[in-house]
């Protein structure tokens, strides 16, 4: 395997056992499976919020964790852009402060320039001083995405980025995410339990069940439009 991203891990979260293996390049990988199949746990292991028991996680040249070599980088040095299922915006900070949180040790000029860039990408101009509890669900997701991208991460991890959004917003945000991933050329892993979402956005799909990776491949191979169109929660 000489892919940019390699994840082969075993981890225990309470009584839940995770045994996952996935690999990919600078592409969009969808983790697909029912609730409780271990999708979010994989993201937590990659971010470093969950320790692995065995295996390794490699992103580009960086070894995030390796049980053999007894390496486990702290979350703050992994450079992961992470969007939790709930945007988890900092309620005591406004939109601009949330977006610049990861770079608030930089000088004001750098911060302002990055802020303007991200506000423009996510159509958030004019909301800089807004309190985060005044934002709609879609705007909050956009702010959280902008915040995750501010420090130019090496990998983007999105946990159900389209949940709780209406259909138009889901499609719009999916296109934005796809464009951003293409521009940045970094691996992007997103969690979904919707086959339609995975088919729409992903370059690769990893199917999980009961904490195990069952199979992985192209979205069409893994899901097949006809097979899954009737079972998904959303229509795009």
């Amino acid at each position: 395997m000489n892919e940019f991203l390699r994840v082969a891990i075993q981890a225990k979260v309470g009584s839940f056992e995770l045994n996952a293996e996935l690999a990919g390049d600078k592409e969009i990988i969808a983790l697909f499976g029912p609730s409780g199949s271990g999708k979010s746990s994989i993201l937590n292991c990659i971010t470093g919020l969950q320790r692995i028991e065995k295996g390794e996680i490699v992103v580009g040249e960086k070894l995030f964790a390796s049980s053999d070599r007894k390496i486990c980088l702290a979350p703050q040095i992994r450079k992961c852009g992470y969007l939790p299922q709930n945007p988890s915006l900092f309620p005591h900070l406004n939109v601009a402060q949330n977006i610049c949180f990861a770079i608030n040790q930089e000088n004001q000029i750098t911060q302002q320039s990055r802020l303007r860039e991200l506000l423009s990408i996510f159509h958030l101009e004019g909301f800089e001083r807004s309190r985060v509890n005044e934002l709609s669900g879609g705007q909050a997701k956009r702010v959280a995405l902008a915040r995750a991208l501010a420090a130019k991460p090496d990998i983007l991890l999105l946990d159900e980025p389209f949940s709780a959004l209406d259909e138009d917003l889901r499609e719009e945000l999916a296109l934005e995410i796809k464009n951003i991933q293409r521009q940045l050329a970094i691996p992007l892993i997103l969690v979904t339990h919707s086959g339609q979402e995975a088919l729409f956005i992903a370059d690769k799909v990893v199917v999980l069940k009961g904490g195990q990776t069952i199979k992985q491949g192209s979205p069409e191979e893994m899901l097949g439009k006809k097979e899954h169109s009737g079972k998904t929660q959303y229509s795009w």
């Binding site: 971010t47 470093g48 919020l49 702290a74 979350p75 703050q76 040095i77 992994r78 450079k79 992961c80 852009g81 992470y82 939790p84 709930n86 988890s88 900092f90 309620p91 005591h92 949180f101 990861a102 608030n104 915040r147 995750a148 501010a150 420090a151």
Partner: protein, 219 residues
């Protein structure tokens, strides 16, 4: 009159100094108890709550046993410095700290427990260390609870009586705090003085409570 001024000054000084210690120590202990699992956690939690449950005179007795010349810590202090904190103004601060600490620990622990830990996790993934996360996310979000704890601790320190009497005594011009002066004036039948002092203490405590509400609302 000079005794009254001294008692007011001493009480204020004791309340301010002890509150600074209690705010720092209580916040740290509340955070540790709220965030970390360790053997004996329940025992430590209960031990820190004891001064809240025990009669202040019992706490004062323990403090005497601890800081007295023959006490566990007092012996060491006396051996090194030739000085004992018992029956000094420093003893007033020690008793105020011990008595008001549980209030700060309880309120700060509750404030930290009520926070969404996902916010702290997100902060870590955004490149912040655990210390930076505490100062930039945890403490600002817990601020309302911490302010309430500080106000309660200050008010409790200002009104501390039993433990102070045990370890610092009731020495006019030396260790006589406002509550101790009120006690003495009541014993000697100085009703006018008692009423004035009770009014001063009540108004000041009310102001502290109002100020704390104001700060919490602004945060």
């Amino acid at each position: 009159m000079s005794d009254v001024v001294f008692s007011i000054q001493l009480s204020m000084m004791v309340a301010f100094v002890s509150t600074v210690f209690v705010a720092i120590l209580g916040t740290a202990l509340g955070y540790i108890l709220a965030r970390f699992e360790f053997p004996g956690r329940n025992f430590v939690d209960a031990l820190l709550a004891l001064p809240l449950i025990l009669p202040p005179t019992v706490v004062g007795f323990y403090l005497l046993g601890f800081f007295g010349k023959q006490g566990f810590v007092g012996q060491q202090i006396y051996a090194i410095t030739g000085w004992s904190p018992v029956f000094t103004w420093q003893a007033c601060i020690i008793s105020a700290i011990v008595i008001s600490l549980p209030l700060m620990v309880k309120t700060s622990k509750a404030a930290f427990e009520s926070l969404d830990t996902k916010l702290e996790e997100v902060s870590l993934t955004l490149g912040k260390t655990r210390a930076q996360t505490i100062f930039q996310v945890t403490l600002p979000l817990a601020a309302r609870g911490l302010i309430a704890g500080i106000a309660l601790s200050f008010a409790r320190a200002l009104g501390e009586f039993g433990a102070t009497l045990m370890i610092a005594g009731n020495i006019p011009g030396k260790t006589q705090t406002l509550p101790l002066l009120i006690f003495q004036a009541t014993q000697t039948g100085e009703t006018q003085l008692v009423l004035s002092l009770v009014l001063v203490l009540s108004i000041f405590s009310l102001l502290v409570a109002m100020l704390s509400n104001e700060w919490k609302a602004r945060w």
